[in-house]
């Protein structure tokens, strides 16, 4: 007979499962400086490699002389494209079906491009060697403006594919054209727009920026020639995909490659791509027989690895006089840089840009996207967003504002009037998505009430009056944003990367004493997976989160998965975790039934144990069951207690939110002060509220940076003018406001625990909120659209052009 069972509530609390603000298990090592990041890895005899990079944006490489570099003490090798060519490694496939030079093969196509790889005893000697490599360039004309790429006489950038009429995504009409991608009904949309009462048209530019994690990219490759095994530690957001790609391009059998993502110092999409540095460290290790480390510096990182955005979105939106939206049309010119290295699922060359109908019930829509080559760095990664969702959300949230101006309607009301209603879910969008769930009106009402919207508008009007009277030089801007995300890529039927279906996985082993280890195909870069996935599991299998170790990132031990980006970990790997947990529980039920000598169906689950129905004092705890699984011979049940789940999500998840920003703008200096930011998120079931709030704070701050100053800018020669953290805006604690957060909870109907993902929502919703605040302040003076980033001089220019400096 068992002793008294503690009350249910007490047992649930002990689990620290779903919904609790469990403190992070990662923090012990991070706060003590005991994290293990790639640059912390030190192997016996390890060498250091780094790049000679092109100072030019477009040039022919006439010659590379390495003798002087090789004569420098400590320099072991200088690798060029000529050395890689026999191995067929001088070019590599990109994630978008294009190819990319690993090292300059006859020419360079962007400033900072990798030209040669110098391998030396340490980073000091490597740098000495880099400075001694002599490269002779012949400068070529440069394209930095995608609208000039197809003009007569434009230089052909990609000579390697100049004659190729068919690319990975269909026909190419010009050597500098990559693809045209279409979604929706062009004819119907154009018809609706031509017949509409009201049409607003605008070019919305989302400028080029960069994820800029604090830790740059890097790798350590070690080729063990004795065992024929290659191990690569690196900043990989998708370690398994890297293993497969590495195997395919190197010819090394996949079982002989081990990829390890150690602790990662922030990713935000920057670490999804496969970079020449990774390849070169591997080749250098093979060539030298020693482990080789490559760590880029921040300037390299900003110049060469994975930009984000750079979408020119020409839009038309139509409505009835009453403000019911009837159609949306968008043509995007996408500046992809020198190689198409976008990190998107294969079938989506413009990512999920076709979520650009946003939170609104828009019956007819059409989107076309032209991908264009320019002399800029390749990339096009999802910087804290899910494959171009940020661009889409910014586009629609700007178009709503310009439509509201055209209609003479308050844009909050316009949104409310056009939201997809709760009863319309699951909702089929005009551009082909099935929105799983949502309750936009409730979130919106809550947000407007929280900021006292009507009062704010009144205050704004009074300020405007004072401004006209000459009593103040400051305007108030109220930035509204209601976004719908599309995350959790994705269903294998339409989502793959390089042919690898975008499922994810979890493998659980319960130890005899009732603790456990779970391994996932994802990799945390600060999201706190070790904390939150243990919480999911705790609630599923009744073992306290404290007794569950989480492991990710080692391809030799973790089950195959597609990694962490696009807010996919919780929707996909989180689902796999719950499903694997349920498999454990199913087996545990059989064991408990055997031990209690009842039929399986006579048992019910009760927090942390199976109880005989109607006889609550007869039970077996998970801990007891775990031990039994290792020491009892149970007929028809294998020993041990393990499970694995590969989860192929039936649909994407659609988190949403309502954000409002109140900003003070000085028209004379162009300076801004954020007075209030309210962010309501609905990410479905909430696993750890503390972590959700932290994600929202962080994402909002990245949104603030992007909207208000952060950009990768080029001059007309193709030189990067924002290559250090002096010019590339990353706000400090001083420029960052306090945030007010709130939530509603609309669980995903198809996710095992109803969770939707949250990490990227605040960036997706934040950028339009901040940008709309700037636009809103100048709305009454006739401003409809002005491009980001809204730094001081650009805001000043808005005011100047509107004649506000002559008042």
């Amino acid at each position: 007979m068992n002793e008294t069972i503690p009350p249910k509530e007490e047992r649930m609390t002990a689990l620290n499962g779903l919904g609790t603000s469990r403190k992070r298990v990662e923090d012990a090592r991070f706060t003590q400086g005991k994290g293990n990041y790639v640059d912390d890895i030190k192997l016996q005899g390890m060498l250091f490699g780094d790049f000679v990079r092109s100072p030019y944006a477009h040039a022919r490489v006439k010659s590379i002389k390495t003798e002087a570099a090789l004569a420098i003490p400590g320099v072991h090798a200088v690798i060029t494209a000529a050395d890689l060519e026999p191995l067929k490694l001088h070019w590599m496939p990109t994630l978008a079906g294009d190819v990319q030079m690993v090292l300059a093969d006859g020419k360079v196509l962007f400033q900072g491009q990798e030209v040669a790889f110098v391998v030396a005893d340490n980073r000091y000697a490597a740098d000495d060697g880099i400075k001694a490599v002599e490269v002779e360039y012949e400068e070529l004309p440069v394209i930095v403006d995608p609208f000039k790429a197809e003009l007569d006489g434009a230089p052909i950038l990609r000579e390697d594919i100049a004659d190729k009429k068919e690319g990975a995504h269909g026909p190419r009409r010009h050597p500098n054209h990559i693809f045209t991608w279409e979604s929706g009904d062009r004819q119907a949309t154009e018809a609706v727009i031509s017949e509409a009462d009201v049409v607003a048209e605008e070019m919305v530019y989302y400028h080029r920026t960069h994820p800029c994690p604090l830790e740059t990219c890097g790798s350590v490759a070690s080729m063990d020639k004795v065992n024929g095994k290659l191990t690569v530690w690196g900043t990989f957001q998708a370690p398994h995909a890297v293993r497969t790609v590495a195997s395919l391009i190197s010819g090394i059998a996949e079982h002989n490659i081990r990829i390890v993502s150690p602790d990662i110092g922030g990713g935000f999409g920057n670490k999804v791509g496969v970079y020449p540095g990774y390849i070169c460290s591997i080749v250098a290790s093979i060539v030298t027989g020693a482990p080789v480390k490559w760590i880029e510096d921040k300037m390299d990182n900003l110049m060469a690895t994975a930009f984000a955005r750079d979408y020119w979105m020409q839009g038309k939106i139509s409505a009835t006089k009453e403000g019911k939206i009837t159609g949306l049309w968008c043509h995007t010119t996408a500046d992809h840089g020198a190689f198409d290295a976008c990190a998107d699922p294969t079938k989506f060359p413009a990512g999920f840009m076709n979520i650009c109908t946003g939170s609104y019930d828009i019956p007819t829509a059409f989107l076309s996207v032209d991908g264009i080559y320019t002399n800029k760095a390749p990339g096009g990664v999802a910087y804290r967003c899910s494959f171009r969702v940020t661009e889409a959300a910014y586009f629609i949230e700007r178009m709503i504002e310009v439509l509201a101006i055209k209609l003479g309607m308050d844009s909050a009301e316009l949104r409310e009037k056009n939201f997809i209603r709760k009863d319309q879910f699951p909702y089929q969008s005009a551009l082909g998505w099935e929105y799983d769930s949502g309750d936009y009106h409730t979130a919106w009402d809550k947000a407007l009430k929280a900021v006292n919207y009507k009062e704010l508008r009144k205050e704004q009007a009074e300020r405007l009056e004072a401004f006209h009277k000459g009593e103040t030089r400051k305007l108030i801007g109220i930035g509204l944003s209601h976004f719908t995300e599309i995350v959790g890529a994705g269903p294998v039927k339409n989502c793959d990367i390089l042919g690898l279906g975008m499922f994810d996985s979890c493998e659980i082993r319960i130890h005899p004493t009732g603790s456990a280890i779970a391994r996932l195909g994802t990799i945390s870069q600060g999201q706190g997976h070790a904390t939150t996935f243990a919480q999911i599991l705790a609630s599923e299998i009744g073992i306290p989160a404290e007794d569950i170790t989480l492991e990710e990132g080692d391809t030799d031990t973790a089950p195959y998965g597609l990694g962490t980006y696009g807010s996919r970990s919780t929707p996909v790997a989180g689902a796999a975790t719950a499903m694997a947990g349920r498999k454990i529980r199913a087996k545990a039920q059989m064991i408990a039934a055997y031990l209690l000598e009842v039929h399986d169906n006579d048992l019910e689950w009760d927090v942390d144990r199976f109880v005989v129905k109607g006889n609550p004092e007869r039970f077996k705890t998970m801990k007891e069951i775990a031990f039994a699984s290792y020491n009892q011979a149970i007929p028809n049940v294998e020993p041990g207690l393990e499970a694995v789940s590969y989860y192929d999500p039936p649909n994407m998840t659609y988190p949403f939110g309502a954000y409002i920003c109140v900003m003070e703008i000085d028209v004379d200096t162009g300076t801004t002060e954020i007075r209030q930011v309210f962010a309501l998120d609905d990410c479905g079931t909430r696993i750890n509220p503390m972590i959700i709030e932290g994600q929202v704070h962080g994402g909002l701050t990245e949104a603030l940076a992007i909207a208000m100053g952060q950009e990768i800018a080029y001059d007309e020669m193709g030189n990067v003018t924002t290559g250090t953290l002096m010019d590339f805006f990353v706000p400090t604690a001083w420029e960052t406001p306090n945030y007010q957060t709130d939530y509603t909870e609309t669980p995903s109907p198809h996710h095992p625990i109803g969770a939707k993902g949250v990490g990227e929502s605040p960036n997706v919703g934040g950028v339009p909120a901040f940008s709309n605040a700037v636009h809103d302040a100048f709305k009454s003076f006739g401003l409809t659209q002005s491009h980001m980033p809204h730094d001081h001089w650009r805001i000043w220019t808005i005011a100047n052009k509107l004649g506000l400096h002559e008042m």
Binding site: T721, M726, D727, W793, W796
Partner: protein, 284 residues
């Protein structure tokens, strides 16, 4: 971001530093806090084979205020300028400006001597020293000479200091008047989009003394003599301020960069100067 190698010297006297400087000539550079020099060395934009660290020379440190005269050793850090209570009491302008330079970590290391001697037009101290009409003490193999801050700057990174000289100290009189240092920047740690230092004294409504200098609005700091001449002796009303601001903007000659185009910088310069003048008057 790795510097080329150099030989390191750390003399404990000015004479010692000078003799190394003389011995190695163009190959040698002195280093103070290093927050301007080290980034340049890391990018290998300059070739230095002998680095002379002034950090070991105690005579270059310290702040003294005697008989209304302030003397600051070149190796005094921004942090020391901020935390020195005497200085804060007698010349609060220095503290106000220093707090707007770089960030806390950089201010622990960055020195006043390095900031004024480097000749970087983006640095704040040169304009500030022109506002205070400071004198720089330059010590060279032939002894000591004094150059006024207002005469020191010739062009970006070109100053009146000879290669074999070391800027050893800075002195100026306690201003005893209204003061302000206004700076617009994109974020903490950034150089000025526009900045202005102002000292002003009033005799009832009439301006009895004024000094104005601008930062990062030309290839050198800009001492605004015409603006000053148009203020002193005049009744100060909004028109007079407007006129002074006009002369300051006229004197500026900014270049376009990532902080913005020329017309924007000139406009903001006007706003910043006006704020600085008004603040300074309010503090008389």
């Amino acid at each position: 971001m790795i510097p080329s190698n150099f030989e390191y010297h750390k003399p404990d006297s000015i004479d010692g530093a000078l003799s190394i400087l003389t011995e190695w000539g163009d190959d040698a550079r002195v280093i103070a806090g290093g927050h301007s020099l080290i980034p340049v060395m890391k990018q290998r934009l300059t070739d230095i084979s002998h680095l002379i660290d002034l950090g070991g020379i105690s005579e270059l440190k310290g702040i003294s205020i005697e008989n209304n005269k302030v003397s600051i050793g070149a190796m005094t850090t921004q942090h020391e300028l901020i935390t020195n209570t005497q200085l804060a009491k007698f010349v609060p302008l220095i503290r106000e400006a220093s707090l707007q330079i770089a960030d806390p970590q950089v201010r622990y290391v960055g020195t006043i001597g390095g900031n004024v001697a480097n000749g970087d037009p983006a640095n704040d101290m040169p304009g500030l020293m022109q506002t205070l009409d400071a004198s720089y003490e330059l010590t060279g193999p032939n002894g000591v000479r004094i150059v006024k801050a207002r005469d020191f700057y010739e062009a970006a990174y070109f100053t009146a200091r000879e290669d074999e000289e070391i800027l050893t100290s800075i002195s100026f009189s306690v201003p005893n008047c209204g003061y302000a240092y206004e700076k617009q920047k994109r974020k903490i740690g950034d150089y000025a989009t526009a900045a202005a230092g102002v000292l002003i004294n009033m005799d009832n409504d009439t301006c009895s003394f004024a000094s104005i200098a601008l930062t990062n609005l030309s290839d050198t700091p800009v001492y605004c003599e015409e603006a000053v001449n148009n203020l002193v002796g005049k009744k100060v009303d909004s028109n007079a301020i407007k006129k002074a601001v006009h002369y300051c903007v006229e004197a500026s000659d900014p270049v376009a960069d990532t902080r913005g185009p020329v017309e924007f910088k000139k406009y903001v310069a006007g706003i910043i100067v006006q704020k600085a003048i008004e603040n300074a008057i309010a503090r008389v």
